[in-house]
């Protein structure tokens, strides 16, 4: 394993093609992270048509690097203008923006970018350390467990919807699974739900589905609400490099906090269903609790910037672990990334450890090198990158819509996919407008065929009693516990609202 570990690093650093790809991915990731209206999930969905047909390793490196550095640039608007790019960055606003208001924007940016980079690297190291620990566990899984893991994946992602929303999430996940059955049935050769339409015999295009469910609805929502934050003064983007360097040095000054929050972030990332923001908020809370002077927090304490930033980037390494080895994405962003990996031909599961460890290490190094690149670029150019925040969201809409239409067409070169794009976009927008989660749809669509194959294998091997195997029972218990916990918390919330009203 040591040989593969360093061999892949050497290959990555000595192959200009990989380095160029990563540089482009980092630049796109930075742009996506800071531009209002385009989130990490959307960027992966839009990048899928471009990487379609690429070889497995370069495609995966490109997508993962782009995804991993989103958060590093997202904090710029949080700190400078008090406008968080997404939930992960919201915790950074608490102390980052007060620092900027005190004239310490450069220090806050230096600290947050370095902390993000270091967090991303430590997250990748935690992931690497977990491989030998998890190897026997992953290899113990049989088709029966992989079928149940697909259901568990949907349940975990549905759990992100929160409380009683879990039912909506599971329904959407099962809908994805249902659409995953469109096409020729591998068992009987029956054309399911495709009638005489030959273009459907190979199944629904995953690229089209992802673009339709995520990208198009997001653009329409962006157009409806408008997405510019240009009301903020551009003067706020000015700071000195001395300040920036001082912020960089804040990270080694608080090295113990950095290590603690990175490890906590990576571990939270490994637990599917906790969601991305949880890592940042938990670590912010940890920084406050472990500080000797907690009263400084919320007024511009640099530890309040370092802790959430290390955690939110470290969780990417952690969440890659269940995504790759069990097919259970740790977050909705990872759910789309998993779909993209499948399009590239990467099958999650034990074969990655037994046959494709090189790819796994490449991905780990992509996280490390990508984060270093992003930090270096941002430390030098953050002041100009910040100006991207002033781009009007409305100007992006036609180009993203064009990318969606082109993307849906190019992967199979069939015009029928444009019709599918419109139909699924309507469903996606309906889900968004009704506040139903959309990520479980991708999981269902991606894992549906794998689940079906595993189910048939499990039935052939053990008959209908396959779910009585010990590991299967553990997974069933986990599914039941997740649903039970979601229902319990949902009921508790509604009771609390009722009690509050009565007490009043």
């Amino acid at each position: 394993m040591i040989e593969t570990m360093f061999g892949t690093l050497f290959t990555m650093l000595t192959t200009p093609y990989y380095l160029w790809l990563m540089l482009i991915a980092v630049l796109i990731g930075i742009w996506v992270g800071i531009t209002p209206g385009i989130g990490g999930k959307l960027s992966i969905a839009l990048a899928i048509p471009f990487v379609f047909g690429w070889e497995m390793i370069p495609g995966a490196i490109f997508l993962l690097t782009m995804h991993a550095v989103n958060g590093t640039s997202g904090q710029i608007s949080s700190i400078m203008f008090g406008v968080p790019g997404d939930g992960d960055d919201a915790a950074t606003v608490l102390d980052g923006h007060p620092m900027a208001q005190k004239g310490e924007a450069g220090r806050a940016l230096g600290a947050s970018m370095t902390a993000s980079g270091v967090g991303g690297i430590i997250g990748a190291i935690v992931f690497a350390l977990m491989i030998p620990v998890l190897e026997p566990v992953v290899l113990a899984f049989s088709p029966a467990e992989f079928f149940l893991l697909a259901l568990l994946g949907i349940t975990f992602i549905a759990f992100l919807a929160g409380g009683s929303g879990i039912f909506k999430g599971i329904i959407v996940g099962l809908y994805g699974m249902m659409l995953g059955t469109i096409g020729m049935d591998p068992q009987t050769g029956t054309a399911r739900y495709s009638g005489d339409y030959l273009f459907l015999w190979d199944g629904l295009s995953l690229v089209t589905a992802v673009l339709a469910i995520f990208a198009v609805p997001e653009m329409i929502a962006l157009g409806v609400k408008g997405g510019a934050i240009s009301a903020v003064s551009k003067e706020a983007a000015k700071y000195s490099y001395r300040q920036l360097f001082d912020g960089v040095l804040d990270v080694p000054r608080h090295w113990w906090l950095v290590i603690r929050t990175s490890v906590i972030g990576a571990v939270i990332g490994m637990i599917p269903g906790l969601g991305g923001s949880a890592a940042a908020w938990i670590c912010y809370g940890h920084a406050v609790q472990s500080s000797g002077t907690p009263e400084r927090f919320g007024k511009g304490a640099v530890e309040g910037v370092i802790a959430p930033e290390t955690a939110s980037n470290a969780k990417e390494g952690g969440s890659l672990l269940p995504t790759l080895f069990f097919g259970i994405p740790g977050s909705s962003g990872m759910a789309i990334l998993l779909g993209a990996f499948l399009i590239l031909g990467i099958q999650p599961g034990p074969t990655l450890i037994t046959q494709n460890l090189e790819l796994v290490w490449m991905l780990i190094w992509a996280l490390v090198v990508g984060n270093i690149m992003a930090v270096v670029i941002l430390l030098f150019f953050a002041r100009w990158v910040a100006l991207l925040t002033f781009v009007r969201g409305e100007l992006l809409i036609p180009f993203v819509l064009i990318l969606c239409v082109v993307g849906a067409f190019v992967n199979e070169a069939q015009w029928e996919n444009l019709v599918i794009l419109v139909v699924l976009s309507a469903i996606g927008y309906g889900l968004l407008r009704a506040d139903w989660p959309r990520a479980p749809f991708v999981i269902g669509l991606v894992l549906g065929p794998i689940a079906e194959e595993s189910l048939h294998k499990a039935l052939a091997l053990w008959g209908p009693g396959f779910f009585l195997r010990p590991l299967s029972l553990v997974l069933i218990a986990l599914i039941a516990l997740t649903i039970g916990w979601a229902v319990y918390t949902g009921r508790r919330q509604s009771l609390a609202i009722g009690t509050g009203a009565v007490a009043k």
């Binding site: 909506k168 329904i171 009987t188 399911r192 409305e394 036609p398 064009i402 067409f409 419109v422």
Partner: protein, 175 residues
């Protein structure tokens, strides 16, 4: 949404029932529990909307008793469903307009192909929706068409959809 989902699942399970046993197995495994969950969700939705109605009735009754002189600010105690902001008619108009643009783009690509539709779409959207200047809109339209040509046609070697009526129009115009 729940009703739509329920209808979709019932239709898909109904269609699957005509397939051979092995082929309908997975649609049943996903579809039947989904129908059950949709029914459960429908019950939850109905119960929530009944609570909302009861809450509104109570508020109106209180308002009647007090002659509307006291404003009962119950926003914080209201059930989640009441708190959700209703979609105003202006929002619906914007949504419909954006859907119009999107459908126009897809329809244009299907009828006239990518190369003809994309610059027109960019100009129309930027001028009408984003209220940009002609020069800015035209500049971005040229840039978008160039990128499309360089990346997809020259780079990825993808033959763009030519459009169903483009050939017919060109034939009529130029013989």
């Amino acid at each position: 949404m729940t009703v739509v989902m329920l209808a979709v699942f019932i239709a898909m399970v109904g269609i699957a029932s005509q397939y051979p046993p092995d082929a309908r197995f997975m649609p049943f495994v996903a579809g039947i529990p989904a129908i059950a969950l949709c029914l459960l969700q429908l019950y939850l939705d109905l119960r929530r909307s009944r609570r909302v109605r009861e809450h509104e009735t109570a508020r109106q009754k209180l308002s009647r008793i007090t002659g509307g002189r006291i404003d009962f600010d119950m926003a914080r105690e209201r059930p989640a469903a009441v708190r959700s902001t209703p979609h105003s008619s202006a929002t619906v108009r914007r949504e419909l307009a954006l859907w119009g643009y999107f459908l126009g783009l897809v329809g244009g690509v299907l009828l006239f192909g990518f190369m003809a539709t994309i610059p027109v779409f960019v100009v129309v959207f930027l001028r009408q929706w984003a209220k940009t200047s002609w020069s800015f809109a035209l500049g971005l339209a040229v840039a978008a068409s160039t990128v499309l040509y360089l990346v997809f046609i020259l780079g990825l070697k993808v033959g763009p959809h030519p459009g169903f009526v483009t050939g017919f129009i060109l034939e009529r115009l130029f013989g």
